[in-house]
Amino acid sequence: MLDILLPILIFSALALAAIGAVRRIRLWRQGRPSPVPVLRGLAAVPRRYLVDLHHVVARDKVMSNTHVATAGGFVAAMGLAIVVHGLGLAEGVLGWLLLAASATMFAGSLFVAQRRRNPPARLSKGPWMRLPKSLMAFSLGIFVVTLPAVGVLPADAGGWLVALVLAAVVAWGLAELVFGMTWGGPMKHAFAGALHLAFHRRPERFSDKRGGEGRSTGLKALDLEDDQAPLGVETPADFTWNQLLGFDACVQCGRCEAVCPAFAAGQPLNPKKLIQDMVVGMAGGSDAHYAGSPYPSPERGDKPVGEHHGTPHGPIVAREGTALVDAETLWSCTTCRACVEECPMMIEHVDAIVDMRRHLTLEEGATPGKGAEVIDNLIATDNPGGFDPGGRLNWAADLDLPLMADVERAEVLLWLGDGVFDMRNQRTLRALIKVLRAADVDFAVLGNEERDSGDVARRLGDEATFQSLARRNIATLSRYRFESIVTCDPHSFHVLKNEYGALYPQGQDADYPVWHHSTFINQLIESGRLPLAPGQAQRVTYHDPCYLGRYNGEYEAPRAVLRALGVELVEMQRSGYRSRCCGGGGGAPITDVPGKQRIPDMRMGDVRETQAEQVVVGCPQCTAMLEGVVPPAGNEATAVKDIAEMVAAALDNTPPATPASHDAAASQATEEVLS
């Protein structure tokens, strides 16, 4: 009896899955076009799965082994079941292999069940809670029905009642695992996930055979040529189809939620929920079935689910009232990329958030907080603070910095950034210049020819202002000869290194390396150009800036510099690629969405846990955010030092920062006043 039922079950499950697949693909195809190499993409799936995806999953060893056993067991069992039971070819080893595969899968599903017994808050409940049972049903059912096929049990063991029960169990397993995959059950992640790996919008982010690290973090440029085209993403269907596919691949593992600084601060953002909302919008409906942590809400504790709803062609953010997502959710993100770094499904949250912000800013003029003012300043004065662009070098009046306009060529172009207007960052810059002079580096600055890099404008969604700033900066850069750019601002660093390339006029290239000052200083130390007097016996911890670490993979150089300084480095619990954001990126301090606590306060809490005397940073934003933290009563404030300041303090036979004597200039000035 089973040999009649099983083929029917298996092939109808496959047929239903095929119908579901077509429907699902149709949902994705509502998105904007985005050309992909179909065959090459599909061919790359095994490597991308086994190397890149596994690299992320393997950070959680137990879960990774569980997944290998369950998923590997399932794929093998399903393939073999089609042959053995579907086509009735049980000869030889096939049946035994099927037994082994389903047993492995069963073992895996026991671990899944174990984890679901007391699931951490980040995991979604709802249908996900039945998944371990479905996995067991499938693996156990297939195991038992295979026993007669290999001759362990007689073919008619147990009679028709047992056969019917077994068939029902297998049917349950098939329903969840085969056509549930394309009809929107928890197993959807396998189907969408595999295709997402194949057709990812950033194929560059995967490693290649030569072991390239595969990093792709620069935002994609928005085409501003067509002046009738609507800008940014207003409705779910405005995403590209492969972005929609990516959202659909989410397994609701909540790893993104667990690392998101905005979520931890109680701001109304949860990256997992945001991705699920996009799925809701793509299919149409309300978020009532969402079974994970909702968006926090400072006033109400949590935003209740079921209030928001959307359609593929309806707005994501309502101009009035509620739609799919509230604007404050999108503006809470610091673009720290912690979620993207952790996501095992390689989903690009930051791209999606910035796409939606682009619509709000460029089409609706709805940048919140001080956003509009900052953008107006950038347009009128090329810096976010609205300072006189002719005063970019006022802080360095006594330093006699060589100007590119005068020297025209230099070994290093020192990019100063907008920190020139900030008194705290001016100290860092002075320290950096002292270091460069001590190492005899031939450098020059752009001075008043420099403009804001466009980082903030771009993260606030104002692509037009970003591109205008970038193009003018590029024109300035291409007038001068230099071997590399060095900057102490990781945001400028990232934009110059990863985002300007796409905006160079045709036939021109950004043909220079860009270094963060920590990398450059490390090079100087390694090549022996910097005389250091080590021995600052201090206990310090190092805070990885998001735009240096996760965006550009530079975790090592700053630590190497600190080692060369001979200080004792203690790591915070969350450091390196898991570093927690200071709260200063993505225009978050400008849009200033309220939460229950502040992100920099949490980060300084991390710092205090290490009992370090100082926290070393490499970013003007981080310095400002962390220094702005008021220590809790009874605690002393921890000093915040830029890595350049640390190095400058350790310089041997400290030469003066000014070649021209400072005193002489000063006394001259007094004389003039007297006469």
Binding site: P230, E363, G365, G371, F387, D388
Partner: protein, 267 residues
């Protein structure tokens, strides 16, 4: 874009907008006060708002004018005028032709003469009342508008005037909304030729950058923080002066003339 209502005849509002100039960099932009005027107009219920500019049409002025379109308009009427022309006749002709109920504009332009006289001359030519320093339009009923005029130190005065009227706004009016790039570049400038009246006198002027005059320091001799605060928050005390009520226009005008003579503004 403009809210429409089939029931009540819409309130027709024209906002006169000019090319602004950023105080630090001199780059063209939407003029701040005019943008506030546009914001005020947009906040009126059932208003049909038109934007009107008279001036040159070139790349840089277009960029500035598009800043107003980005506040949610699909078009802006532009009466082309050569550089240095006196735009008064062209504007009054256009306003005469379209006869809006309310004309809103900034107190003074950020470029050109910037004398702040244009609204007055326009009101004179059209024979309409003018209210300056508007903070809000409270209501419009049966051809009468209730306005809130801003006075120094946050004081407000409620006024009722008969429409049509010209009102000007300054920094007390609501902050203008953000100008969005998409609508700004999609909107159209409806260009038309207007009556040209060359300003011969202006042509002979010599223009040079103003030298910032040093600020006169207010010396406060105060021993305590409380005294310093009181000094900083104190009202400027007017001395002398008189309040005239229930006088004929002629008497009022004479009083003003006498004062101007006393102060040697007029000789």
């Amino acid at each position: 874009m403009q809210p429409e209502s089939a029931m009540t005849p819409a309130l027709e509002v024209t906002v006169l907008v000019s090319i602004g100039r950023h105080p630090l960099t001199g780059r063209v932009r939407r003029a701040d006060q005019d943008a506030r005027g546009v914001e005020l107009a947009r906040s009126l219920a059932d208003a049909e708002v038109r934007l009107l500019h008279a001036g040159e049409c070139n790349e840089s002025s277009e960029a500035a004018l598009r800043g107003y379109l980005g506040m949610g308009f699909s078009e802006l009427a532009l009466i082309e005028q050569p550089e240095g022309a006196d735009v008064l006749p062209a504007l009054s002709e256009a306003l005469d032709a379209t006869s809006p109920h309310l004309v809103i504009t900034g107190e003074r332009a950020e470029r050109g003469e910037g004398s702040g006289l244009l609204p007055y001359l326009l009101a004179e030519r059209l024979g309409w009342p003018l209210v300056s320093g508007l903070a809000a339009v409270e209501s419009v009923e049966d051809g009468m508008a209730t306005l809130l005029q801003a006075l120094p130190r946050g004081q407000r005065r409620r006024l009722k005037i008969r429409l049509p009227a010209i009102v000007t706004v300054d920094d007390a009016a609501p902050t203008p909304r953000q100008s969005a790039y998409g609508p700004a570049r999609r909107g159209t400038l409806e260009t038309s030729a207007g009556e040209v009246c060359n300003d011969d006198e202006w042509a002979t002027w010599q223009v040079q950058p103003a030298r910032p005059r040093p600020k006169r320091l207010k010396i406060v001799k105060a021993a305590s923080a409380r005294d310093r605060f009181k000094a900083a928050a104190a009202k400027a005390e007017g001395t002398g002066g008189q309040v005239l009520t229930d006088v004929t226009p002629t008497q009022g005008a004479e009083a003003i003339l006498t004062l101007l003579r006393d102060e040697e503004v007029l000789r």
